[in-house]
C-alpha cells in the first residue's frame, strides 16, 4: 500500500466532506465539483482537491467528482463503510442523552453496550441495551466486539476506568470527562470538552468585535 501519510488536518476535514457528500446524494446530484464542496463546507477549492488527492485520483478532469464513488472512498478511508461497534461507559444524564441520540447509526456507529457503576442501574434497559456493571468491562467489551469506547463518566473515576478499557484491548476512546487521559501511544483519544470551547468563545468576546 502507498505509505503517503495523510496530514492530521486533512483527516479532521474528511468527516465534514462526507456529510456534505451525503447531502448531495440526497439532493440526487450525480456529480460535484471541488468548488461546490468548498462552498458547502466553508473552505476553498484548492484545499478540497488537495485533501481528496491524498485518498487517490478520485475525480475526473473537466467533470468533477462522482458523488457515489466519492462517498464510498471517503467512507472506506474513515473506516465507516460498515457499522463500527461502540460502547458507552457511564449512563448518567450525558451518557443517556448520547445513547438515545439516533444520529450515530447514520454516521457509521452502533452503540452495542452500556456500562455503569451504579447497582440500581445495572440490569435495567438503556434504549434497547441492558446496562452492565463496570466490573464486567473486560468481558463485556470483548463479547460485544466493541472497537470504540465513549467515556461519559465523572471526572474522578475516568482514568481508572480508562485503564481497564485499555487493558481490554480498546484502541480508540472518545472522552467526554474533563480530564486529560494517560494512555499508551497506540491508543487514539479524542477529548470533547465544552468548557474549553466556551472559554475559546469567551476569548473572542473579550477581544471585542475585531474579526
Amino acid at each position: 500500500m502507498e505509505r503517503t501519510q495523510i496530514p492530521e488536518t486533512t483527516i479532521q476535514r474528511l468527516p465534514v466532506y462526507l456529510r456534505c457528500l451525503l447531502q448531495a446524494q440526497q439532493d440526487r446530484k450525480p456529480v460535484i465539483s471541488s468548488v461546490e464542496i468548498a462552498e458547502m463546507v466553508g473552505t476553498n477549492a484548492a484545499q478540497v482537491r488537495k485533501d481528496l488527492s491524498y485518498l487517490g485520483e478520485l475525480g475526473t478532469r473537466g467533470i468533477g467528482y462522482d458523488v457515489e464513488a466519492l462517498i464510498a472512498h471517503v467512507s472506506k478511508s474513515l473506516g465507516v463503510s460498515e457499522l463500527r461497534r461502540a460502547a458507552i461507559v457511564g449512563y448518567g444524564r450525558l451518557g443517556g442523552a448520547l445513547k438515545s441520540y439516533t444520529g450515530f447509526s447514520d454516521r457509521g456507529f452502533d452503540i452495542v453496550a452500556v456500562f455503569d457503576a451504579s447497582p440500581d442501574k445495572i440490569g435495567t434497559d438503556a434504549d434497547g441495551v441492558t446496562i452492565r456493571s463496570v466490573d464486567e468491562l473486560d468481558a463485556g467489551l470483548a463479547e460485544e466486539g466493541v472497537e470504540i469506547v465513549i467515556m461519559a463518566t465523572p471526572a474522578a473515576e475516568t482514568q481508572a476506568l480508562v485503564d481497564r478499557v485499555v487493558g481490554a484491548g480498546i484502541k480508540a476512546i472518545l472522552n467526554l470527562a474533563p480530564v486529560r487521559l494517560q494512555v499508551p501511544d497506540d491508543v487514539a483519544v479524542r477529548q470533547v470538552c465544552m468548557s474549553t470551547d466556551l472559554q475559546i468563545l469567551s476569548f473572542y468576546l473579550a477581544q471585542g468585535g475585531e474579526r
Copy 2:
C-alpha cells in the same frame, strides 16, 4: 492596538493551561515552571513559554511563573475573570444534561436561561431556571444579559433559531447540532460534533489495522 495577534492554536491551548494552573493552585504550589506545565498538559516547554509570552512577560527569569498571577492573567485573556452569562436553546436530553452539569460555573460560565419550543416544557423548571418559549428568544436573551448561546436543538430547526439568536445581538455560539451554521463574520461559532470525532477515531483504527 499594538498587541500582536495571538495565534489561533495558542488560544486553543489557553484553557488547557488554565485547568493545569488551577490544579497547581489546589496543590498549594506558589510557582510553576514551563517544564512542569508542559509535562502536565503533554507538550514541550518552549511551546508553553511562547504561548504565554503572547499574553505579556508573565514569568520571572531564574524562577518561573507565579501561579496566582498567571491564573489571573490567563483568566483575564480568556474573559472568564467574571462569570459569563450563557443560555441553552433546546431542552431535550442533551440540553438537560448540560444544564445539570455543574462544571460550567467553575470554568467561568453561568447558565442563566433555557429556551425550548415544546409547549408542555415551557414554564416548567429546568434545574433552577424556568424554561422559556423560543418565541421569547429576543426578549429573553436581552433581559438576562446573555453573551453566549449553546444550541442543543434538532438539526432541522437549528439554523432558523440561530438566525434569531444572531438577530438578538449574540456574538458567540456553541453549536451541538450536527449542521454547519451560516452566521455573519462577527459572530464566533464553535461546533461540537461527536459523530465527527468518532469518525476520526475510526480512521485511526482503519489505519492501525493494516500493519
